[in-house]
Symmetry: C2
Subunit: 349 residues, 2 copies
DNA sequence: TTACAAGTTT
DNA sequence: AAACTTGTAA
């Protein structure tokens, strides 16, 4: 429990997923089969997979006497607490077709079957800490209703419902950490994951979340907005910190994010009209550039902290930072520095 | 088994439906609750309910040695057979918000939870006949796949899944006849209903169908087109006649029917443009009419058979026929003739 | 009845 | 990515 390697991820080859090349794949997609494509992309979250491969159910679990939380969720308010509990999401994961993050709305849009690679940090390097993750309905009047999977996604003949522990079946999300507990308190479901201190050189602990139902599902979440609430707990279940994040599991993260952001700016405006003029701006020729480079390669690493106005600009800066380092890596053959720097690019909440 | 009264319908008060006035009704509508409103309208299919009320599961069922059909469905072709097997739908039920019939497409659009009041006729007045009803996928490549309810609609805690026989749970439709068998042959589901000869004065036998899933349901029909196949069977399960009807269980029968008919006429045309100009025709002032009536009331009944060009015209003629008789009924107080004549208005397939 | 939401198809 | 479908809400 002292080293990074106990934060294990599910090895792909141990999940009973049909091959994407299976000719029945399309045919079996009867509306509630999962899109496994992300889980078949060899490099999808490669950097999170430690070298060591462990069985899905570990023989020596990290034990807590009780998985009960001392104070069930009554508020969503952020509470860093005495350990300055924080979470983040690697920026290079934030603007993909399968996972979009809206900085304006502080909201994650993610497709079912895909990975939300969260990072968590707290200021103590000693003691046993746990992460509890609970999905709740965002609206006050739904807050006490348990968030559970729909009937269709709980069907036991679905491939991703086989070879799982019975306690996982109703959970909308599962973690990538095989040592997580799947807890149920009066129908309110949560996961409880041991938080080991970050490995040397990293300042936070990665924990993946995978989603097995959608926000739109009838008999389940049924189109209601949801949040994931992360609490830092002590070994005895005392709440030491709390952070929450709005999450929507949907089929078109990009579209839905753009729609929501547009609604925020233009309430009650005719959406279809607005979008058209936004998505089809008049073409502007790119400015001429001098791409000649005569600068010596500099081996030093400079820490940079800056605020950028506007998400597009923000993303552009990030992309540029990544690309310029990629150019460096290609020229020098030093891909290590690229890997390290790009992992440092986190989106903090 | 010799009289009309053995074609019983489910008495409303014996179905375990929540009251429409229940304050939880709206709240419980989590996407897969049924719209019970039709079943609460006192007069909805009043005329089909015989005076005698029978328990939902009859104590003395009409027995067939085996519910197996000698020749399972391999074709959808119409086959009147030696008994001239026919079916029809009362026209006054054909153009409602809950049930639309497209004469162009020979297709029924019906909301879940609502009644399709079919009528069946055959030319023999002696012997024991049975109606088998099977729902199949319209497309050849899906024909052999069983049509069953989705997981969400099979949930046992839904009110309309309680107090039913286990054999009914997977069936997309149920009949209004309590003596129907619910058969399963390798997953292919069908109902088998005793066909008693029509009562004196009627020329066909009414059988209601109620729907408990939708064509759009994931893990169920999943947006595939379906047909209901009706076969006339002998006491030994020999097929004596066959008729089929395209049925789509959906939330907006009128809209979907109009869309389909529009698609038929304007294949690949921009639908949204077309519909707008169709649904908002330029206003035309109605022609002046002389509504003075100086004709003596005629007590004779005249049989009429005619073909009308165009569905709107066809409906207009039917409505006019109904209304003119209604006027007669109001003037004379003879509502019997109205009832009898309007029931004669059937839409034959 | 219209507009919207959100999954699926092209 | 755009268009279409189809359930739901206003
Ligand atoms: Zn679901
Ligand atoms: Zn269904």
């Amino acid at each position: 429990m002292e080293n990074y390697n106990s934060n294990f991820y599910i090895p792909h080859n141990q999940i009973d997923f049909p091959s994407i090349d299976d000719p029945f794949y399309k045919y079996q997609n009867n509306g509630y089969m999962m899109d496994y494509s992300s889980l078949h992309q060899q490099n999808f979250h490669k950097k999170y997979i430690p070298n060591q491969v462990t069985p899905y159910w570990p023989k020596e679990p990290i034990i807590r006497k009780s998985s009960v939380c001392q104070t069930p969720i009554v508020t969503l308010d952020d509470y860093p607490g005495e350990f300055n509990f924080q979470f983040s999401l690697p920026v290079n994961e934030c603007f993909r077709t399968n996972l979009m993050y809206s900085k304006k709305l502080l909201k994650v849009y993610i497709k079912m079957g895909h990975v939300l690679p969260m990072r968590f940090s707290w200021s103590s390097f000693h003691g046993d800490f746990w992460l509890r993750t609970t999905m709740v309905f965002r609206e006050d009047h739904d807050r006490s209703i348990p968030v559970q999977r729909c009937y269709a996604h709980m069907a036991s003949d679905l491939p991703y419902n086989q070879n799982i522990n019975a306690s996982q079946l109703q959970h909308v999300f599962r973690t990538g950490n095989v040592r997580s507990y799947y807890h149920c308190n009066n129908g309110i479901l949560s996961t409880l994951t041991p938080l080991n201190n970050p490995v040397v050189g990293l300042k936070d602990v990665p924990i993946d979340f995978l989603f097995y139902c959608k926000n739109s599902c009838p008999t389940g979440i049924n189109r209601r907005p949801t949040m994931m609430v992360f609490t830092l707990e002590s070994q005895t279940g005392q709440v030491l910190g709390r952070r929450s994040l709005q999450v929507q599991i949907c089929s078109c993260p990009k579209r839905d994010k753009e729609r929501d952001e547009n609604d925020l700016q233009n309430p009650k405006a005719k959406r279809s009209q607005e979008k058209k003029s936004v998505s089809n701006p008049p073409p502007v020729p790119p400015p001429e550039e001098d791409t000649e480079s005569s600068i010596e390669e500099d081996q030093n690493v400079y820490s940079l902290k800056l605020d950028v106005l506007g998400e597009e600009n923000y993303k552009a800066v990030l992309k540029y930072a990544y690309d310029i380092m990629a150019g460096y890596a290609v020229r020098t053959g030093n891909f290590e520095i690229l890997k390290k720097c790009s992992e440092e690019l986190h989106l903090c909440f």
